[in-house]
């Protein structure tokens, strides 16, 4: 399965090698489509491929490391 995710990195997590961890610890492949990382904060749009459970583990890992994970569409539950 494929998933498109928008990651947001808070200021405190900018120095951490979080993307490297995803590459090494999980059986998924991904491509970075767009990103903007600065001293203050950062974001990254990823296309992930792997089986559903493994992608779910990646999302949980990212969240446990303080990264916010959202669908690429942004919030779609509108007023």
């Amino acid at each position: 399965m494929q998933d498109r995710l928008h990651l947001t990195f808070p200021h405190e997590r900018i120095p951490d090698p979080i993307i490297c961890e995803v590459a090494k610890k999980f059986d998924v492949i991904f491509s970075i489509r767009r990103a903007n990382v600065s001293h203050e904060a950062g974001w990254m749009d990823l296309q992930l491929e792997g089986d559903e459970a493994e992608i779910e583990r990646v999302v949980q890992h990212l969240e446990s490391r303080g990264v916010r994970v959202d669908p690429i569409e942004g919030d779609i539950v509108a007023g």
Binding site: M1, E73, G79
Partner: protein, 463 residues
């Protein structure tokens, strides 16, 4: 229907959409949801007209182009896709006179909307009043202020504009099921338009939504699915459902068409001002689609020489409890950090706004401003608009008026600027926000003495 299509016959035949590209996820069977087998069906390729008004879709970030199809994200950079027009073709058919002869709805601007034939999902949204607001202007120290009263729509919010465009296009693509995830206005509008057009309809809501809110959708008899879970979980699930079903999810797979509907809020204001753009507009921000499309709308009118080349300053309004765009603006950032919403302005409670970065660009480029108001100021804004102008808006309108007031007081709206505030939804849907805030009736007995003594109190209170 009073409206006859204003498009050249050739353009109507020029359908060249194709079956939605198979995405990896759609191979997964639909969970327990009834399957609508009818995704967009392949339409026979008509001869390509030499008068192609609609060129296709174009990525807002990297400019990659695509055929007109139900697709919303660029395959390369994941940027949002937008409808791409051939403005030379439009310039050759459009005129002020032609627009003025058109229907009293958004469809008088069909030459600038991504629908090819007679619009098939049409409750006559739009062409709402532009009210000169002298009493409010005086309070705020502005000379010329107008309220664009978009509470006067079929389901009482501006969402009828975007939904009518999205679903009319969706029917042209061959969809027979409309869907959305919404806690309020969007759900009401999708359900009503689907009912009117005989489309099947799925509406997803968070399970803890108040009964009163759900009623405004249930009356149109859509399938309402309540999702148990927190805000993020509901969002994520709905995004997955949108990916896996073959439904026209108005703010997901047909979002490029949906958001074009908001341009009509710029066209109408310009036409109602006698074909001139205002100097300054104040627009509420949720996902940011409305603000970006109001900007696009004024830009198109200039490009087509339907208005003078004036400069419109665009300012954005958010509630303090959900203000990711205003925070990024204040911090000088060009991207938005998502937040967890907590505000009475529920229709603006989008914590991760898809169009956030574009909104920031537009506000800066047009020399507008961005500001936020507290829940208390939202209620004050609702009351101020009602008391000075006789217009009862919902909490989102309270945000707009509160921010209008702040910007005027801070000198960011100059007294001599012709200013328009966009009031996008009605107060009857958010009455709970006013509990205990609008006073009580005087109680009297059924005799004149009682009335007279009450009248003394009334007059004393008024002086």
């Amino acid at each position: 229907m009073p409206h006859t299509s204003s498009l050249p016959q050739e353009a109507r035949g020029a359908q060249h959409e194709e079956r939605e590209p198979q995405e990896a996820r759609s191979a997964t069977p639909l969970l327990h949801l009834p399957t609508s087998t009818s995704g967009p069906s392949a339409t026979p390729k008509a001869e390509v007209s030499s008068m192609r008004r609609l060129k296709g879709l174009k990525c807002r970030v990297c400019s990659e182009t695509y055929e007109l199809c139900p697709k919303h994200v660029c395959e390369f950079c994941f940027g949002p896709l937008e409808v791409d027009y051939d403005y030379d073709v439009i310039a050759s058919v459009i005129s002020r006179e032609k627009i003025q002869r058109g229907p009293n709805s958004i469809w008088r601007y069909q030459d600038l909307l991504p629908v090819e034939g007679t619009p098939r999902v049409n409750l006559e949204a739009g062409f709402t009043p532009l009210v000169r607001a002298d009493r409010l202007a005086k309070r705020l120290g502005i000379k010329e202020l107008y309220i664009k009263n978009d509470t006067a729509n079929p389901t009482w919010s501006f969402k009828d504009r975007v939904v009518s465009v999205a679903l009319s296009r969706a029917v042209e693509f061959g969809f027979d099921t409309a869907a959305c995830a919404s806690t309020g206005n969007l759900a009401n509008s999708v359900a009503a338009h689907a009912a009117h057009a005989g489309l099947k309809c799925f509406v997803f809501i968070p399970a803890d939504l108040e009964v009163g809110k759900v009623m405004n959708s249930l009356i149109y008899a859509p399938h309402v699915v309540a999702v148990r879970g927190n805000y993020d979980e509901v969002n994520r699930l709905c995004s997955e459902i949108a990916d896996r079903t073959k439904w026209a999810f108005v703010n997901v797979n047909v979002r490029p068409y949906y958001s074009e509907g908001s341009k009509t809020l710029a066209y109408e204001v310009a036409e109602q001002l006698g074909w001139r753009a205002p100097d300054h507009v104040v627009v509420p921000i949720a996902s940011g689609s409305l603000l970006t499309k109001v900007h696009k709308g004024f830009g198109e009118l200039k490009k087509l020489k339907l208005i003078e080349d004036t400069h419109v300053r665009i300012s954005g309004a958010q509630a303090e409890g959900c203000s990711p765009v205003v925070q990024a603006y204040d911090q000088g950032l060009d991207f938005v950090t998502p937040v967890k919403p907590s505000t009475i302005a529920k229709s603006l409670a989008i914590g991760n706004p898809a169009d956030g970065p574009f909104v920031l660009d537009i506000i800066r480029e047009t020399k507008g401003a961005a500001a936020l108001v507290t829940d208390d100021e939202i209620v004050e804004g609702m009351k101020l608009l009602a008391e000075t102008e006789g217009i009862f808006t919902e909490t989102a309108g309270g945000v707009t008026i509160g921010v209008l007031k702040k910007l005027a007081e801070a000198g960011k709206i100059k007294p001599d600027e012709t200013t328009v505030a966009y009031i996008t939804g009605i107060g009857l849907k958010t009455q709970e926000a006013l509990a205990g805030r609008v006073g009580e009736p005087y109680q009297i007995d059924p005799n004149l003495n009682s009335f007279e003594s009450a009248l003394k109190d009334v007059l004393a209170a008024a002086s």
